[in-house]
């Protein structure tokens, strides 16, 4: 196991390096001149030159790259160009909000999609299966935007069941008051594709020989579905959840924008609009690291789920 972990951590280094290089060169060669952006519209050439010198932009490329790498390793991500807030502080304050919204969404998505998918897969080809498939296709074709716009208007504005927007400092208030509407909308939209995906997993499992063996042993259909098939289908399902996990850290920026939730996604969007490069660069690199670490943890945990997995 130790050898496996070391090997994986070792393999992460080139990928991380690649991400850093990608971000660095992307912004360097395609982005605008940071000095001009920071200087603003009315800066004089001298001011811009001065800014350039402070930022170290007059140095050769590899020196700049070195400075950038150093800042990443020492966790010094600089300050936002727009608000002058330290980027590290930005993470600390915004991340909890994102997680408070995204975690319930992920949990509910999985918990709801599972039974529906199982039921639909078992009755493959029946009228209910096909109806659900068509309905979910239609539901999927409407952009998430529309759901939020209409949902917010209907449930928040017209019916007044939930607040239209808002956030508070207490986690509990958030969970009870401000989170339900966005979670409801997101789960509604996410349920269709998740169910379709899980249905495929269940159908695949139902096609395997061990299902026939289980039936041949005289087990009831319920036992076959809930013990044998479900247990095997958990493997691709958990893989899928594992893949979705890194996504909850970015959050759904749309939800955060619409509902004025001060989360990381919204922060990034603001940064993009304001050409706030340090924030975007830092978030990208930071999230890449989180993604890789989560992947590693999921892979290690996989052995618990699938006994055939050999970690080498």
């Amino acid at each position: 196991m130790a050898a496996y972990l070391i090997r994986r951590l070792w393999q992460m280094v080139p990928t991380l390096l690649g991400v850093v290089l990608l971000v660095f060169f992307l912004f360097k060669y395609f982005g605008g001149d940071p000095a001009e952006i920071l200087g603003g519209l009315n800066a004089t050439p001298e001011q811009i030159a001065a800014i350039r010198q402070t930022l170290g932009l007059d140095q050769p490329v590899w020196v700049q790259l070195g400075i950038y790498l150093k800042s990443i390793v020492t966790f010094d991500w600089g300050k936002s160009w727009a608000t002058n807030e330290s980027v590290a502080n930005l993470f600390a304050t915004r991340l909890p909000a994102t997680l408070t919204v995204m975690t319930p969404i992920l949990i509910l998505d999985v918990l709801l999609a599972l039974p529906v998918a199982m039921w639909v897969a078992y009755r493959r080809g029946s009228l209910s299966d096909r109806t659900i498939m068509v309905v979910s296709t239609v539901a999927l074709s409407v952009s998430f935007l529309v759901y939020i716009i209409v949902g917010q208007y209907l449930f928040g504005f017209q019916l007044g069941w939930f607040p239209v927007q808002g956030w508070s400092d207490s986690v509990w208030t958030n969970l009870v008051t401000y989170v339900p509407l966005p979670v409801l909308l997101a789960v509604m939209v996410g349920l269709a594709p998740q169910t379709r995906l899980y249905r495929t997993f269940f159908l695949d499992e139902l096609g395997h020989d061990y299902v026939r063996t289980a039936r041949a042993k005289g087990l009831t259909e319920n036992t076959v579905m809930f013990k044998h098939v479900l247990r095997n289908a958990m493997i691709p399902i958990l893989t899928n959840v594992g893949l979705a996990l890194p996504g909850i850290f970015v959050g759904s920026f749309l939800i955060e924008v619409f509902f004025s939730i001060p989360g990381l996604g919204r922060e990034v969007l603001l940064a993009v609009n304001r050409s706030d490069y340090p924030v975007i660069q830092a978030v990208t690199v930071y999230l890449a690291v989180i993604t890789m670490v989560i992947n590693l943890i999921v892979d290690v945990c996989f052995k618990l789920v699938d006994p055939r997995v050999v970690l080498k």
Partner: protein
């Protein structure tokens, strides 16, 4: 006493609708037979005969689109009309099943012990601990080494033979009256197959159980069955006691099936094929002896091939797949290479053709062909050499590109090597070759999926012949074919060898087939040549222990001496 009585069973599959008309494929067209107590009944047939469908109908283990009609009486009760929950009481308790591919049939995420206990808990109402004890007993009975440890093992940690033993243990757990075994040994190596067959026979004797044994291999069936039923295309062609079927079969198809098996006893020049037999053609003649002083076309010395396997953090170790193979292949002769899986026989063949990438591992030795060493040819030299040594692979369903027409498949090699002046000439050559392999010229514009396995294999042979090779490597080329089709292809190969003076390297796991077609035989095990001699000598006087074991494991069919034992 009759345990199971099948009366006029018909099974059809719904295949969807074409132009609003529901399509059905009939798999079983009216089958009637009985299974008595304490008997082994064998259901024999080639693929598509409906034998598996018949067996699976008993417990209704067919797919949802199957429609059954007729009667299946189990101790008086009609199983076709029994509701599901009653059927579930029978399954696993009175009637149990063993399937063909144990790796797929066992649930990969549960331990062996878990799966063994399931029928015990459900049918015998045992507690968990009692069930585990009984499970261990079952494993002991099926001859599983270290049964206690195996209870906690997962299926993928066991070998194929051990997995099949687990399946059998699971079937026996509740002491059923009838065991339905659907090709239980087909997916296993010959020596393991022998062990499992003996196990099933022993269990049948001990528990006085009835067995419905499905197989395509008459040799296997002859050894263990009391009664034999022969099916073809969904119809029962013949049924009777095993001695009668083997000694004096009445139906033409049964006669043909018995005759077209290559066997270790006889040595015909040609194998009888079904149509020959049905048409009543005469039997075989003795084979023409081969010229022992024919020129040597390929000489192999010290051929070795290893693969790199990743190990530890950064290292790798060498896995020796083939070690020190030597032989001489003469023009017009056939070298048979025999071994079980993992013996390295396929690796050896592919290495000669330089089809193993260089970066997979080191290769050493010499293979002198046309004055050059095949193993050290540069890329440029390899291309012209490809014309002279060709290959036919095992799987007829995978060796032809599904998106190419037959014509494209045949013309391509000629176009690459510049044979024939223009496309017309190449197409003509292709058509001639198709006729040479007994296929219609109209095959030219068709796609592979329109042909059967045997036909595709013949197309593959035609493709190999487009380049006028001198040596043909046949890598398990007939192993995936039905017995009767296999006979056709083997006869074709012999004819082509006589006509074109080809030299064959015939790789197979089936000793009987190798015996039929080879002049010299190489027996391989774990990458090493265990014994090497002429085909006749290997059969008559094998020197090595492994060779003897291999010979003994081959199913011989029914022999009257058995009745005495």
């Amino acid at each position: 006493m009759t345990l199971l009585s099948i009366q006029d069973l018909r099974v059809a599959f719904r295949m969807g609708k074409v132009n609003g008309v529901a399509q059905r494929a009939e798999a079983v067209k009216g089958v009637t037979f009985d299974i008595a107590q304490n008997t082994t009944v064998a259901l024999v047939g080639e693929s598509g005969s409906g034998k598996s469908v018949t067996a699976m109908s008993v417990l209704n283990l067919l797919p949802d689109n199957a429609e059954r009609s007729g009667k299946i009486l189990w101790q008086g009760k009609d199983l076709l009309r029994t509701p599901l929950h009653e059927l579930q009481h029978l399954r696993g308790k009175e009637i149990a099943c063993v399937f063909q591919d144990p790796m797929q049939s066992l649930n990969p995420v549960f331990t062996v012990g878990d799966q063994l206990c399931e029928p015990l808990v459900k049918h015998m109402k045992m507690g968990q601990r009692a069930a585990l004890e009984r499970a261990e007993q079952c494993l002991v009975e099926v001859g599983m080494p270290e049964p206690k440890r195996r209870l906690a093992a997962y299926p993928h940690e066991l070998s194929g033979g051990q997995q099949q033993r687990v399946m059998i243990a699971m079937a026996l757990a509740c002491e059923p009256k009838l065991l339905i075994a659907d090709e239980p040994t087909t997916a296993l190596d010959v020596t393991i197959q022998r062990q499992i067959l003996e196990l099933i026979a022993e269990i049948q004797r001990k528990h006085r159980m009835s067995v419905l044994f499905i197989s395509h291999d008459l040799g296997v069936v002859g050894e263990i069955a009391d009664e034999v039923l022969v099916m073809r295309n969904g119809i029962l062609r013949e049924q009777g006691p095993v001695a009668a079927i083997f000694a004096s079969p009445k139906d033409a198809y049964t006669q043909a099936l018995l005759a077209c098996r290559p066997s270790l006893e006889r040595n015909p020049a040609r194998l009888m094929v079904i149509d020959d037999h049905i048409a009543g053609r005469a039997a075989q003649q003795e084979p023409k002896p081969k010229d022992p002083s024919a020129p040597v076309v390929l000489e192999v010395r010290g051929l070795s091939k290893s693969f790199w396997i990743k190990q530890g953090l950064f290292g790798r170790r060498e896995f020796k797949a083939v070690q020190n193979v030597n032989f001489q292949l003469r023009k017009g002769h056939t070298l048979g290479v025999v071994g079980e899986s993992g013996s390295g026989k396929t690796t050896m063949g592919l290495s000669l053709l330089r089809l193993h990438e260089a970066n997979t591992g080191p290769m050493s030795g010499e293979a002198i062909f046309g004055g050059k060493n095949l193993l050290t040819l540069t890329d440029r030299e390899r291309q012209p050499m490809r014309r002279r040594i060709q290959v036919v692979f095992q799987n007829p369903y995978a060796s032809l590109n599904p998106r190419f027409t037959i014509g494209q498949t045949l013309v391509e090699p000629m176009a690459i090597h510049g044979i024939g002046a223009d496309t017309n000439e190449r197409e003509n050559r292709a058509r001639t070759l198709l006729e040479k392999v007994d296929l219609d010229g109209t095959a030219f514009g068709k796609y592979p999926h329109e042909f059967s396995g045997g036909q595709r294999q013949r197309i593959a042979i035609a493709r190999a012949l487009t380049l006028n090779p001198e040596v043909l490597v046949l890598d398990e080329a007939v192993s995936a074919l039905d017995v009767s089709v296999q006979a056709q292809v083997l006869n074709l190969l012999k004819d082509l060898q006589d006509e074109l003076g080809l030299a064959y390297i015939f790789i197979s796991h089936d000793l009987a087939v190798v015996r039929f077609i080879s002049d010299e035989v190489l027996v391989m095990k774990d990458g090493v040549v265990v014994e090497q001699a002429s085909a006749a000598r290997i059969l008559a006087a094998p020197r090595e222990e492994y060779t003897r074991r291999l010979l003994a494991a081959v199913p011989r069919g029914y022999r009257p001496a058995r009745a005495v034992a």
